[in-house]
Amino acid sequence: MPMKKFWFVLVILVSLLSQQVWAAPLDSSLLAPTPSVQISSIRYAVHTDSATGGKSLRVVLDVNGPVKVTASSNMLQDPQLVITIQGASVGSVANSVVFDGSIAKDLTILQTGKTESQITVNLPQIIDDSDYQVSVLPGDTAANKPFRVVIDIDKPLPLPEFTFTPGLRGKRIAIDPGHGGSDVGAIGPNGIQEKVVTLGVAMKVKALLEQAGAKVYMTRTDDRDVFAPNDTASEELGARSEVGNKNQVDIFVDIHANSFANPQVGGTGTYYFKKSMYDKLLAKTIQNGVCGVYGLADRGIYPANFYVLKHTNMPAILIEMAFLSNPNEEKLLAAPAFQQQMAQGIVSGIDNFFTQAAKLGVSN
């Protein structure tokens, strides 16, 4: 019996086995062991999500074989994200990359073992574990496509630059009744117009806030275009944001009614643009404030790339009170009693926001 042959087969088997275990979590079909797996290239781009307008930095490293990655954030001294790539050495790739500093400052690649590399990303500020994702995309040997280590880092929210106190007294609040004048907004099956119901609710919100001692800045108090009739979208929406910006209000509340192709869809939803840590809080407190008014469905809060929310300098939300396209909700939206309840819900949500935001300011 030739012993050599036996050992040869055994060696092949062991190497195949280890390869299989190695590649299994990557779902790879790679069969032949790669003599030396290296990082062959590095590239990056900033991605802007079309739904939310959120920005993230994506760094992609090409690797000519399967690897395993682990990542951890190190926030003890300078904020860092450390990614360990097991199974690849640093090839001829540049060992450092300098970014513009808005999402990451720079990145260095270091070989920390024979087949282990470490990437350190220096960050401008502390990030949450939910603010980054590191993954390996499988390669395709047939298409000669390399394995890719993908590092996604969300743009960090600015640190709190606002300090809030509890209560409504003395607060400066901008209220924007959606649409108006030449822009009617959505129209219900029975002809109820969005611009009319948003103004109805907004005027009731104004009265309640003023009773509580707040100073209210309205983008409009009657049926008109805020900039000019038949103006461009950026003129009109810009003029609304400007009411909040020039009056340096504490918060901006944009009131709308929703509409969708399917008349059965209904409920309340609130939108925010992630520009500070307070925007989501404001969306949450207002959504909670109106939740359950007349048994409307709770559609939740959503990040959205909305023009007015993006162009205001303070925490801002857009509430879609109910669906005008839904005949039942159209009836409700037109009813003064419903409008009053909706306005009360919005005001209690605003009040709760200042309570919560004041705590947030203290803990930071």
Binding site: M1, F6, V9, L13, L16, L17, Q20, D27, S28, S29, L31, R43, A45, V46, H47, T48, D49, S50, A51, T52, G53, R58, V60, L137, P138, D140, K145, R148, V150, D183, V184, G185, A186, I187, E194, A233, S234, E236, L237, H256, A257, N258, S259, F260, A261, N262, Q264, V265, Y271, Y302, A304, N305, F306, Y307, V308, K310, L318, E320, F323, L324
Partner: protein, 192 residues
């Protein structure tokens, strides 16, 4: 004598390993948002290795779920065209095939063309897209993302800028910001 079963075992393991390696791999994810990605020779990368003949191509459009909460990818095989990106938008505008989905594009909207330059697709529609568009915020968000996601299915497209009659528009129905080119959004897509 001992070695025979060992050989048999080794052989068996090898067969199993090879069989395992032949198992279909998960559809390769594409890394979007990257510049300098080599353009594929074919105009469409299909995510399933289904037999697509030389005269047809597979197009994925994104249509809205009936509850207005998310978008659903709808794949269809159509005759190959010279402008697959424009064809994809035409299929999007034509609306869903499934009765479980609804269209978010105003009826009668025409696709004037799609120009692709440096990874940005300029998607040009006629004025029907914005004129008398009374869509609520929810429908508008779904519409913008449906256009962006349908076009970013093509590997050479990273971002999408929406145009009306060749000119930039800042919004579609008064909520969404469409003033710049934007990238794909995964969060509105229904995951199975």
């Amino acid at each position: 004598m001992l070695r025979k079963p060992l050989y048999a075992f080794i052989f068996l393991m090898l067969v199993l390993l090879l069989a395992g390696c032949d198992a279909p791999t998960a559809p390769a994810e594409k890394d979007k948002a990257m510049e300098g990605q080599p353009a594929q020779s074919s105009s469409i990368t299909s995510t399933t290795p289904a037999a697509v003949s030389q005269s047809t191509m597979q197009i994925t459009t994104y249509q809205a779920a009936k509850n207005a909460e998310y978008l659903v990818a709808e794949k269809q095989t159509v005759a190959k065209s010279e402008h697959p990106a424009k064809t994809a938008l035409e299929l999007l505008v034509a609306g869903p095939r499934s009765k479980e989905l609804v269209s978010v594009v105003p009826p009668g909207t025409k696709v004037l063309g799609v120009n692709i330059s440096k990874g940005i697709a300029y998607a040009d529609f006629d004025e029907t897209l914005v004129k008398n568009n009374h869509s609520g915020a929810t429908a508008e968000q779904l519409l913008v993302v449906a256009i962006v996601n349908t076009l970013t299915e093509f590997p050479e497209i990273e971002k999408v800028k929406i145009l009306v009659n060749g000119k930039s528009v800042d919004t579609i129905s008064g909520h969404m910001d469409t003033s710049e080119p934007f990238g794909r959004s995964e969060q509105l897509i229904k995951k199975n």
